[in-house]
């Protein structure tokens, strides 16, 4: 019964550097998407503004990488009826940050190059030229644990599904207390059960 008794005591007395909150946040960032929003890292920098694919392509990482990222974004959370702008408005702030954040620029450029390298090796063409979604997804699956992929995926999860502008398209109501909740607005409505 006491087999764990001493485990409790691995209390190392020697002082170690204390994590700053910002460090902890970065740590969460790379490992799990859950705390992304908690740390307030991903906000929609462009609000609801319309961002055309070409405007996005003008950003720091260059045209080809930009187009590749957009295609990748649409493969990660494919919603065929959603316009490109909803994907690009997630990518744009990242592209803008890459202009001053060298590490981020490298991550994005190298990530897209790696995608092309892999599709070239498997299909003899760059990512954008691979026609079948299942083929592109096969390559993305191989890269899904990378920091590059998870950064794009995390940003998209917040940018698509936590975007109030899109909630009506998914049938989610968002904040309701201002309208008195649903007590008088159809909480019990169901015409098929």
């Amino acid at each position: 019964m006491n087999k764990n008794k001493y485990q409790n005591k691995i209390q190392n007395i020697e002082p170690t550097e204390v994590d700053s909150p910002s460090f902890s946040r970065r740590n969460f960032l790379t490992k799990g998407s859950m705390v992304l929003a908690g740390a307030g890292v991903f906000t929609l920098g462009v609000g609801g503004a319309l961002v055309s694919p070409s405007a996005w392509a003008a950003s720091a990482v260059g045209d080809h990488a930009s187009e590749t990222l957009l295609a990748m974004a649409r493969d990660i959370y494919p919603h065929d009826t959603l316009e490109d702008k909803y994907y690009t408005q997630v990518l744009l702030p990242m592209g803008e940050s890459a202009a001053t954040d060298k590490d981020l620029a490298t991550l994005l450029k190298e990530g897209t190059s790696e995608l092309d390298r892999r599709t070239n090796a498997r299909f003899g063409k760059g990512y954008l030229k691979v026609e079948q979604e299942t083929d592109r997804v096969e390559i993305l699956r191989e890269m899904e644990s990378s920091a590059f992929f998870q950064k794009i995926k995390g940003a998209l999860m917040m940018g698509i599904y936590n975007n109030p502008e899109l909630w009506p398209r998914f049938g989610f109501g968002g904040s309701s207390w201002e309208q008195g909740g649903y007590i008088d607005r159809g909480f019990d409505k169901n015409d098929w059960i």
């Binding site: 902890s24 859950m34 705390v35 998870q150 599904y161 309701s176 008195g180 909480f187 019990d188 169901n190």
Partner: protein, 526 residues
């Protein structure tokens, strides 16, 4: 509000934590004329801080100090630094809870007697039974305002679309489904309004219809003049004298300065990760294995409930978000019937998530993307679903320990949370996935998604109650077997998890404990 007690006042009860246990204890003692200081690690929020926004509230009120998850369970991989989903703020997890308030079943106090020894588990009977706790359950229901009970006479909530879909499915497969007993007002009661069905119970109730110590017990305690709440006060260690009695609590205040609050009695109520962590951090020459730990059970037997999610997609809209978060509970498998292939019971709690959280939990971790995920999310409005809540076997090696080298912002070793399934948990969860699928398919589900466990909001067992000092940390009053003026007042004192949500039982135990503390103080026993 303005009560201010002296750091050197050694006649006080110092309560660590302000949630279901700590907040209730403060008020119960205050009403009896006993003065306390409540040390709360988190901030004090106002009603205006509460928003109907899942991620914003997650960022605002969650306990996000670093913790490590370990073990082979998927949770440790998906959420390596977030084993538990609980609150850092005045009110604690009663801000976040969904309001489900069910009593334990009789057999759940006697799991050892009921099933005998279960290999690989560390199961024990509680030192109390349902009969002993029943009057305190009544007091707890009265205090919290639980609807659908004889105690309050308050009616159930009206049936939401989400409830109707599940209830019909349950009916078709012959399973018992009931509306949930919720500590959420359906009528104005105790100065709080009736529920408006905002659909955001777990982000904090914006209108205050749901019971939370944040705006019930805490202000009531303060109004007596007998309670001072100190937010942003992180406990560093509990001090004791050479006889082994606790004498005070060392904490870091909001400016980071260390303060020592003297105490006559100390009650620990920081939830099942922080409470044992505090005791382990209070190790001394006299108590080398941690305070109150002669049994070696401090931090052990960590239980979270056996959980998972099941979300079905239908042809037509359900709009599950237009509902109290938990409108009903399928109770067909809540009993202990080993013929099902597992011991103990589980409940299927009808529960919705908003679209933002559904996208995070439908298939969490690195692989949760692609067309299958996005197509399910596209059907968000046509979903109905459950959160599986089943009894979790106590396993000694599921535990809270201190990290060997890594420290948090207060200089304390970070907690390491080890949790994995007992085989009984796995069997139970699989049974629940199977029955859920049958239920949903009986009403025409096109697709049924099984979701893995989320970070735990029900955390129990790490300072458990036991008849004998060698089997647990506290006695039937939540009083330490080793240190007579030290109490545990939260879910960490649970001997078994039961299948029911823990809050009502925490409050019932606390009301009972407050009587015991008052009597013991009066008789100068502590």
């Amino acid at each position: 509000m303005a009560n201010k007690f002296d750091l050197n006042d050694d006649s006080l009860v110092v309560i660590i934590g302000s949630g279901a246990g700590g907040g209730t204890l403060a008020n119960e003692l205050a009403q009896k004329g006993i003065r306390s200081v409540v040390l709360e690690a988190g901030k004090r929020f106002k009603m205006e801080d509460i928003e109907n926004d899942e991620w914003k509230m997650f960022g605002k009120i969650s306990w996000l100090d670093k913790r490590n998850s370990e073990g082979p369970a998927r949770l440790a991989k998906d959420f390596p630094h977030l084993p538990a989903w609980i609150v850092k703020g005045v009110g604690g997890a009663t801000m976040h809870w969904a309001g489900v308030a069910m009593r334990f079943q009789e057999h759940e106090f006697k799991m050892k007697t009921t099933n005998g020894t279960i290999p690989g588990a560390n199961v024990l009977d509680w030192p109390i039974d349902l009969k002993e706790l029943a009057p305190y359950y009544t007091l707890a229901e009265e205090k919290m305002g639980v609807c659908g009970t004889e105690t309050t006479g308050m009616p159930f909530h009206a049936k939401s679309s989400h409830y109707k879909v599940v209830a019909e499915g349950a009916k078709r497969i012959g399973a018992k489904c009931e509306q949930a007993n919720l500590a959420i007002n359906t009528e104005s009661r105790d100065g709080r309004p009736a529920c408006q069905v905002t659909g955001f119970c777990m982000q904090g109730c914006r209108v205050g219809a749901k019971w939370s110590t944040m705006y019930t017990e805490i202000p009531k305690a303060e109004a007596t003049g007998n309670c001072e709440v100190r937010p942003q006060s992180m406990v560093l260690r509990i001090e004791h004298d050479k006889t082994g009695k606790v004498t005070g609590v060392l904490y870091a205040d909001k400016d980071g300065n260390q303060q020592l609050q003297k105490a006559r009695v100390v009650a620990v109520a920081g939830n099942s990760i922080e409470s044992p962590r505090m005791l382990l951090n209070s190790a001394s020459n006299l108590f080398p294995d941690g305070l109150a730990n002669s049994s070696g059970q401090v931090g052990q037997n960590y239980m979270t409930h056996t959980t998972g999610g099941v979300y079905a997609e239908f042809e037509k809209p359900v709009h599950m978000y237009k509902s109290t978060v938990v409108p009903g509970v399928v109770k067909e498998w809540q009993d202990n019937d080993p013929s099902r292939g597992h011991y103990a019971g589980y409940e299927l709690e009808i529960l919705h998530l908003g679209l933002p959280f559904m996208s995070a939990f439908l298939n969490p971790g690195v692989s949760g993307w692609g067309r299958e995920v996005s197509e399910s999310l596209q059907n968000y409005d046509k979903m109905a679903g459950f959160w599986i809540c089943g009894e979790d076997m106590a396993v000694e090696s599921n535990n809270i320990t201190l990290h060997g080298s890594e420290k948090d912002q207060y200089g304390l070793p970070i907690p390491v949370v080890h949790k994995t399934d007992h085989i009984n948990d796995t069997r139970m969860r699989n049974h629940a996935y199977k029955t859920s699928k049958e239920l949903f398919e009986s009403v025409g589900a096109l697709k049924v998604n099984n979701l893995p466990a989320y970070p735990a909001s029900h955390n129990m067992g790490t300072n458990r109650m036991s008849e004998r000092a060698r089997d647990g940390v506290v006695n039937k009053w939540g009083q330490s077997h080793d240190v007579k003026n030290l109490f545990v007042s939260d879910g960490s004192q649970f001997t078994s998890s039961g299948t029911e949500n823990p809050t009502l039982t925490i409050v019932a135990l606390t009301i009972r404990q407050a009587e015991f503390i008052a009597k013991s103080m009066k008789e100068k026993l502590i």
